[in-house]
Symmetry: C2
Amino acid sequence: MTFETLCANDDLFARVGAPVVFAKDEEIYGQGEPADRVYRMVSGMVRTSRFMPDGRRPIGDFYYPGEVFGLELGADHAMTAEAMNDCVVLAASRSALIAAGGEAELKELLWQATVRDLENAREHLALLVRKSANERVASFLLGVAQRSQGVMIELAIGRQDMADYLGLTIETVSRMITQLQSSGVVEFQGCRRFRVCDQRALEGLAAAA
Amino acid sequence: MTFETLCANDDLFARVGAPVVFAKDEEIYGQGEPADRVYRMVSGMVRTSRFMPDGRRPIGDFYYPGEVFGLELGADHAMTAEAMNDCVVLAASRSALIAAGGEAELKELLWQATVRDLENAREHLALLVRKSANERVASFLLGVAQRSQGVMIELAIGRQDMADYLGLTIETVSRMITQLQSSGVVEFQGCRRFRVCDQRALEGLAAAA
DNA sequence: CGTGGCTTTGAAACATTTCAATCATCGTGG
DNA sequence: CCACGATGATTGAAATGTTTCAAAGCCACG
């Protein structure tokens, strides 16, 4: 989502939306529930995921501050959204958005959200097709680093979520991180804070990202 | 794409589009070229793919008769489109579509294409995350079977394209097909025609599809 | 009937997962 | 304040699944 579009919808969401706080691991909405409300991240992070019959849990997307989520193509939510840490979101009902901004503006919002989802999905696909475990982890860390600012990067995402997103097991993710560290590409302080030491090398590994 | 939407645009495309024939393996448009024309499949099959710096070739999508492709979110084509067999498409320039149907109708077309792409991408993601080789192949064959009619199914897609799409090597795909055959789930006649023998079993393998 | 492209098969190498155990980290209650 | 337990992360070793490399088979086409 570009800076302009973020600003363009700023008033609408700010006018209509009510700030809501969610605690870590709290569910924002569940798979199958009617999708009558739309959300925009203010702070914190949210993940969407889908529970499969066999217990696998493919992760859809991660949402950062400023991003809109909860809009669906159908009437119901196709995924579950959960807070990854304590977070604040602006919540607005579809009807309130229409009342305040009109049908056209809601459609525009839906359009932007859909385009962003499609772009994310394509990037995610590129990551999963024909990339090795360490390339996946490298791409992921590079992505997080690019979305963050500052040298020390806060990793809100736990190993299990990373693994689900990358199509790997938690152990493999862990090993790849260890490996990236021993080759001096990144450096972790604890398991949730890291620093990119060799940007060039990380980009090289992430390659076809 | 639903039946209704197909019909709704039928006139527009039929009025404006010019039928074009492409031979097997011919390029319809290339990655990076300006996306000024839109296409709808009449017969045959088309694949889109992206060539990566390292020579890998992730496949975007396969397009069947009736489906629209070539619309892009940006100004240029993000992928290359190639004919997988001799095929006929209706081609129309964006400007001609606007002249004939108006801006709104083109937007609607773009919306439908984007939604379909997103749904495909999500399904594709589900396939790649946490599915084993034989589950992937089973899902793929099931998908082809569902889109086809009749008992004997024509597989327009070669092994290499399947492998690229499924994130496997051509040898693995071949082995999985052999395996599905020996377990009596499907039966191949040559390498491009098959029949589903045990629908239930195939669905079981495709599972979380 | 041979040639070339695509598919299948085999064996060994390799990457990832699985299972099991150990290790941090962090919040809680003694 | 420290020990404790809980949760999540790391590590190791063996098992598994997939790829790689090499060779042979099949089929369509000239």
